[in-house]
Every structure is written in C-alpha cells, then in structure tokens.
C-alpha cells in the first residue's frame, strides 16, 4: 500500500497554528488515529492528541478530518481520497490548547446546570422494555462533542453563554424520558440552556458517530414541551388572569 500524507494542524493557543505534512505508511484497515500515533511514535513525539479506547466508545479523539468533524478512531484511511493530503484540524468551536487538543471544559460547566435523575416517590421500580428502548438512544451518547463543534449557535455565533448545545439537549431528553424521573427540566431548557436558539439545521445529527437522531428525536420534542408549557395560548391567558 502507498504511503499517505497527513497535513496536521500544529500549534498552541497562544502562538496560533500552522499545518505540517507527515508521511505515514499505510496498513490495511488503518484509521486516522493510527496514523497520528505513528507520527507521535516516529516523527513528532510531542504531537498532542486526545484518545482513550480507540474503539468508538469513549468519544475522546474528535477532530476535523478533511473538514469533517469525526472520531479519528473510526475514520478509515481507505475511505479517504488517496491523491491528496489528509488534513487533520482540531475542533474549531473550542479554544485550542495544543495541536489537536482543545479546551472542552465549557461542556462540563453546562452539564453541572442540569439536575440529575430524581425518582418518583413510592415507585416499585418495575419498568417495561419499551420504555427503556425509547430512551436508550439518548443514553448512548459518548460525549465526543462533535455535535457541539458543528452547532451554528456555538461555531458561528460563539453564543456559549445561555446555551446548552445538542449534547445537553440529548442529556435532558434522556432524563425527561426516563420512565421514573420526577423532575421537570423544561424551564431550564428554555432559560439556561436556550433551546430556542436552535434553528433545526440538523448538522448535529449528521455528525453524530452514535447515530442519535438528535434533532428529530431529542430537540424537536423538547422544543414542543417548552411551547406547551410556556407558549400555549390557553395557558398564557390563564396565567394572565391569575396574575402569574
């Protein structure tokens, strides 16, 4: 198999960055993360890359490969055009720490705003499989933050304050649809997580490596809940009359 050229973004937050080309021998079934490891091991020992499981289960190795946000551990070299360099850039929506490693701490700050599961009182903990299946989709999120990376509200408008982003709409969906959860997080969605800012372009859904239907199954139903609770005309009238 011929060698591949990887064009990797190098640099740190302060100094800015430039791309550097590396030639990497290609083995069958090789993924982009393998190529990055080869570079670390043989050409640039200080190349900063985040990764853990190398099996698509931990969501650590997110980057933008040929302009597309992806997990590098699941991006096969033989699926990419062979006649041009493979560009590997860090996620654009988060400040770069170094090379391909970005500061994703904002996500952990958002997560803290979301109240955890609280069970219904006096439940007997019997749950039907149908109810488990319905919510499974949201709970398989591996927190790769690729959806956050492509979300226009974050990427183009950098409106991180007062916004949660697709990852955390998925998390709220996973809690709200838990058959035994007692809390209501709809007010939080509207105010602190700014779900109204999402204009349903579905970019998040497109990049999700877990194939979660983020827009259709999480965001839209949650938006509907916000509308039902806060903008239903009858409810609004009722509120006006009662003065609250």
């Amino acid at each position: 198999m011929p060698d591949a050229t990887l064009r990797v973004s190098r640099g740190d937050g302060a100094a800015g960055g430039q791309t550097v080309d590396y030639t990497v021998p290609v083995a069958p079934g090789m993924v982009v993360l393998d190529a990055l490891h080869y570079i670390q091991g043989h050409l640039a020992p200080d190349l900063a890359v985040r990764w853990n499981c190398k099996a698509g289960k931990c969501g650590s190795c997110s980057a933008e490969v040929n302009g597309r946000p992806r997990l590098t551990c699941k991006t096969r070299m033989d699926d990419l055009p062979k006649d041009q360099p493979i560009t590997v850039m860090p996620m654009k929506s988060f400040p770069r720490i170094k090379d391909l490693v970005t500061d994703v701490s904002w996500n952990y700050t958002v997560n803290k705003k979301i109240p955890a599961f609280r069970p219904l009182q006096d439940t007997d903990w019997k749950i039907s499989q149908i109810d488990v299946d319905r919510v499974q989709e949201f709970r398989k999120c591996i927190e790769c933050f690729l959806c956050q990376d492509v979300c226009h509200v974050i990427r183009e408008h950098d409106a991180k304050a007062g916004f949660g982003g697709p990852r955390f709409f998925v998390r709220v969906a996973g809690l709200e649809l838990h058959p035994l959860d007692a809390l209501n997080r709809v007010g939080l969605l509207k105010d602190d997580l700014g779900i109204g800012l999402c204009n349903i372009t579905k970019c998040c859904t497109e990049v999700c490596p877990e194939e979660i239907h983020i827009t259709d199954n999480a965001i839209i139903p949650l938006k509907e809940r916000v509308v039902d609770q806060f903008y239903d005309p009858l409810t609004m009238l009722f509120r006006k009359i009662r003065g609250r």
Partner: protein
C-alpha cells in the same frame, strides 16, 4: 529547592475516575468528607466506559435459584481458590444492592417481561446473572456515577497525573502530580488516598486496554511501601479482534458468547467440545483463551491467526439489538457483517487479577491511609476473573474504600508535606528534558511490549521469564535516559516517559511472580509446570520494595471458614 506548585487540600483524594474511583468518591462525600478526584483523562472517559457485557449480581430476576452462595462459589472456582474468600463473599452478598442503588441514581437496565432488571448468561456463572444495557453497560454505569458525583459536589482534577505519593513518618500525607495540559505541578494534601487507577495492559502490544492502563497506581503504592500481590495473574481475554492490524486486540465482548455465539476453527470444528465439553464457549476466560491459542498454534487457526466466532445463526434484528456496538465495530472497522458471517477473534491482554494487597473489609492497603479498589487492588478474583465480576467489584469495593477512607480521615489529623519529597518528585519528572537526546520513550515502550508479549504472555517458561528479566534491566536503563522534545505544554512524549517507569515496575513484578509460581493455575500457565501444585494453592506471591530493589515474598492464603468451604469446594 522546589519550583512553584499549587496546593490543594482534601480529606480524601481519589486517584482514578472509573467505576471504582467514582463510587469511592460518592461514598466518601456521603460521609461528609471533602473529596478530590484526579484523573489522567477527561471525566467520563475512563476504561469502565468500555465494559460491555454487564454487572454480575445474584438478583435472581431470571434464574430464581440464584443467590449470593452460588455467585460466591462460581467466583472462588473461577479464581481456582486463590481468591480472598472474604472479598468473594462480600462481593457476592453486596453486588445486588449496589446494582439497585445504581438504578436509583438513574441507570436504566434492560428488563424482563415482568419489568425487573434483565440478566444474561456469561462464562463461569452457573446462572443468568449479568445485569446489562445491550452491550454498553459500562457507559451507563459511568454516566450515572459521574452525574451522581457532580450532583453531590466533588472536585475533579481532569487530565492530571499523580507521579508520587507523599508520606510523613510512615503515614500517607498526600500526593504530587502535574497537569497534563500545561505541565505545571500540583500538590495534594490528603488524610486518605484511594487508588482506583485500573490495570497494566499497556505493557503488552495486543491489548484491549487504553493508554491510561500503565500500572500507575500499583507503582505509586509500591514506591510508597505498600505490598502488591498475585501479580503473575494477567488475564488474556479470549476474544479480541485479530484483523485488520489497526484494531488488533480490540475487545469482542463475551456477551457474544453469552448470547449464543459459537467458536470454530478453520476446519469448522467446534473445538471447545474438546477443551471443556460441559461449558463449551461459556467456560472461564483462561480456558477459552488457552484453547484458541492452542488451536492456532497447532495450525487450525483462521487466515489471520485466530478462531471464528459466529452469532449469525441468531436473527439479524436480535443481534443488532443485543450487540449493537459489536455490530457497528465489525461493520465499520473490519468490513464484516456479524449478522451474516463469523468474526475472527484471538486472545488479547485484558485485565490483571493481581494488584495492591488490601484488607477485605476496608480496602486499606498495608500502608495506613492508603486504600485501593477495582482492578488496581488484588484479592477478589484469585487467579482468574469471571466476566461481569469486574463492574460489580468496582461498585462493592469502591464503596467500601470510600467509606473507610472517609472514616480514616476523621480519625487522623493533617500532617505537613515534605518539601524534600516534592523536590525529588519534580526532579524525576523533569529529567527527560535535560537528558541528552538519546532515547525515544516511544521506542522503549515498543520494545517493552515486545518483551512482554513474547516472554511473559499466555504460556510461560522459566527460560523465557529469565530472559525477560535481562531485557527488563536493559529497558530500565534505557528508560532512565529517555529524552523528550518540545515544551511542558500537553506533551505526550513527556507523559509517556513518566508512564514507562510505571509499566517497567509492574512488568518486573509480573515476571518475578510468574517465575516463582512453579505451577499452572487460572490465568498463569507454565509450560514447564503444566499442573496444579497443592503447595502453591496455599500461597500468594507478595511484591514489596526494599530500598531501591523489588523483593518477592510469600504469604499464606487465608483459610476459609468451614461452612464456606462446604459451599465452594467441588463436589
């Protein structure tokens, strides 16, 4: 003279944020302790996330005859009676409560028709015992624990590596480490430290383990004077991917066999009929791994040197529902549709049964104030771990460690931390920057992996192990000369230079113990001593530091009470 560092103070410092670390932190928080959790990765990325099959707990939701006694018996038999019997008993008794608790914190498991938690069959378990969520049980568990901890309010130090435990007059006083992001130093003052750093698999090239599994916690404990135990028992999971090369070693969950997967050699023979006719594919991991290895070695392996594992006789929809991540893993990484044809699998280094020697009730090591839980601790699994017993181990002994660590913190007062120890730790950490450019840490790591794979693998001999010692000595000398390029800003080469020391320490401990144990038991197979030795059934290998040297001692296996003996022993 020390350079600048920040100082943080906690009653309990937990090192490691996988299942055991998070469960320990939650328990210590609940007891009113101030808790800090340090982890090498981002929160939620720890190895627990990769656990697929499930949590073993005798809830008896599916097989009503199950109870703690059969679970205890299976665990002891699986470990070939080298287990700490009290740990095995506590584990079997407490696991169901730990699972229920997880559910009360929001974890959602697959269900039975009656709405109870569903349980599946697994190797070495007499009854259907593994509570699961498809094949992503670990993810559900870690998210639940993570959210619980955030809610209770622990401080998390992400992407931070501890390189040394600090002691003051024979007692633990804290820990020293650095931020991976910027290379700055940090000192933790703590009354108790819980080590929950997982295993050592990165010393082998074909492994299911992530980069984090470098034996840091065991090395920290060893350096601080605590004892390690049973280090010769390294589990090779029977089914890792063997093709393509990039994914070699990646785990294929035992749940494939639990759901009815069949192993065949290239002649189409169901070879487990030969090695364990009764339990077949659901035999214990040591037996299945050796069987596949033997088939390949004797020329009946697949094209890429493995065995075929086939689940395609089950309906495609069922396979996709019960094993979704396996379906995707093979489809995307190996171009194999597992609903239509077999997978190619072979043994991969997966788990270490040995680790820090702990007290069964409190998870305290032999060093007061130092606790250990999960894979980093020894005892529960004896010479071979059953699938599913790891997640339950994390919960049961994570909780016990957190509880005891919080109580210990209440009893003792803070001591100071030694500036001399901090200065030494700084010097050691910075050495690779001033070493002349002579040795790449990556090259040393690759060579270490070769040594461990070829000389300290599934089958061992005295000759190989002695060779391994000589090689390890050379590698230690090379590691001491490792040099790094670049700055302290997120520098993986520098990080690896530090982790090499841990890997070399645990590798030596494994080889030393493996050479001494002149028998085959569980995961430890000696070609020159292929049988059980009743003398070795009564002995543990203990590894301890004496000055700069590593020494081995022996310690008697604790005798089981008569009633448990009746329960556990073969009929």
């Amino acid at each position: 003279m020390t350079t600048s560092y920040e100082t943080r103070e906690h009653d309990v410092l937990v090192i490691g944020a996988g299942g055991a670390g998070l469960r320990a932190a939650i328990e210590a928080l609940a007891k009113g302790a101030s808790v800090g959790v340090v982890c090498k990765s981002l929160l939620g990325k720890a190895h627990t996330v990769m656990a697929e099959g499930g949590i073993a707990a005798a809830m008896a939701n599916v097989d009503t005859a199950d109870g703690w006694q059969p679970h205890f018996r299976d665990t002891m038999r699986g470990g070939k009676f080298l287990n700490n019997w009290r740990m095995a008993q506590l584990h079997a008794q407490e696991a169901p409560d730990r699972v229920r608790e997880l559910e009360q914190w929001g974890a959602l498991f697959d269900r039975t028709d009656k709405g109870a938690i569903l349980q599946r069959a697994f190797g070495g378990h007499t009854y259907k015992r593994l509570c699961h969520v498809g094949d992503r049980t670990g993810l559900e568990m870690i998210r639940t624990l993570q959210d619980r901890g955030v809610q209770l309010g622990f401080d998390v130090y992400m992407e931070c590596t501890v390189t040394r435990l600090l002691t003051e007059s024979g007692r633990l006083s804290g820990a020293f480490g650095y931020w991976r992001e910027n290379g700055r130093f940090i000192v933790f003052k703590a009354k108790s430290v819980v080590i929950a750093t997982g295993g050592i698999g990165k010393a082998w090239p074909v492994t299911s383990n992530s980069w984090e599994y470098t034996g840091d916690g065991m090395t920290l404990a060893f350096q601080a004077g605590a004892e390690l135990m049973d280090m010769e028992f390294v589990q090779f999971h029977p089914t890792g991917m063997v093709w393509p090369p990039g994914v070699q070693g990646l785990l294929v969950t035992e749940a494939v066999r639990g759901e009815g997967g069949i192993l065949r050699n290239k002649l189409g023979e169901r070879f487990m009929e030969k090695y364990d006719p009764k339990r077949l594919e659901l035999s214990t991991r040591d037996v299945v791994a050796r069987s596949i290895y033997t088939e390949v070695k004797e020329g009946r392996g697949t094209e890429h040197g493995g065995a075929y594992l086939d689940i395609s006789h089950k309906p495609a929809e069922y396979v996709k529902k019960k094993l979704p991540s396996m379906y995707h893993q093979f489809k995307e990484l190996a171009d194999v549709d597992i609903t239509k044809g077999p997978m190619e699998v072979g043994p991969t280094c997966h788990y270490v049964m040995g680790g820090i020697r702990v007290d069964a009730e409190t998870a305290q090591s032999t060093l007061p104030g130092l606790f250990a839980a999960g894979e980093a601790a020894a005892g529960l699994h004896g010479s071979n771990r059953l699938g599913g017993n790891s997640l339950s181990d994390l919960l049961v002994f994570g909780r016990r460690a957190g509880l005891a660590a919080a109580e210990h913190a209440k009893r003792v007062s803070n001591t100071g931390v030694s500036e001399a120890q901090i200065a030494e730790a700084e010097k050691e950490l910075l050495a690779p920057f001033s070493n002349p450019n002579s040795e790449s840490p990556y090259a040393v790591h690759r060579d270490l992996q070769k040594v461990m794979q070829s000389l300290v693998g599934i089958f061992r001999t005295a000759e190989d192990l002695k060779k391994a010692f000589a090689e390890l000595e050379q590698l230690k000398a090379r590691a001491a000369k490792a040099s790094v390029e670049g700055s302290r800003l997120f520098n993986p080469g520098w990080h690896l230079a530090g982790e090499l020391k841990s890997m070399l320490t645990v590798s030596e401990a494994v080889a030393l113990s493996a050479l001494a144990r002149t028998e085959s038991r569980g995961a430890h197979s000696r070609i020159d001593y292929p049988n059980y030795d009743p003398v070795w059934e009564k002995k543990h290998n203990i590894i301890v530091r004496e000055g700069a040297a590593m020494k081995r001692r022996e310690s008697p296996v604790e005798e089981m009470p008569e009633d448990l003996k009746q329960l556990a022993m073969p009929d």
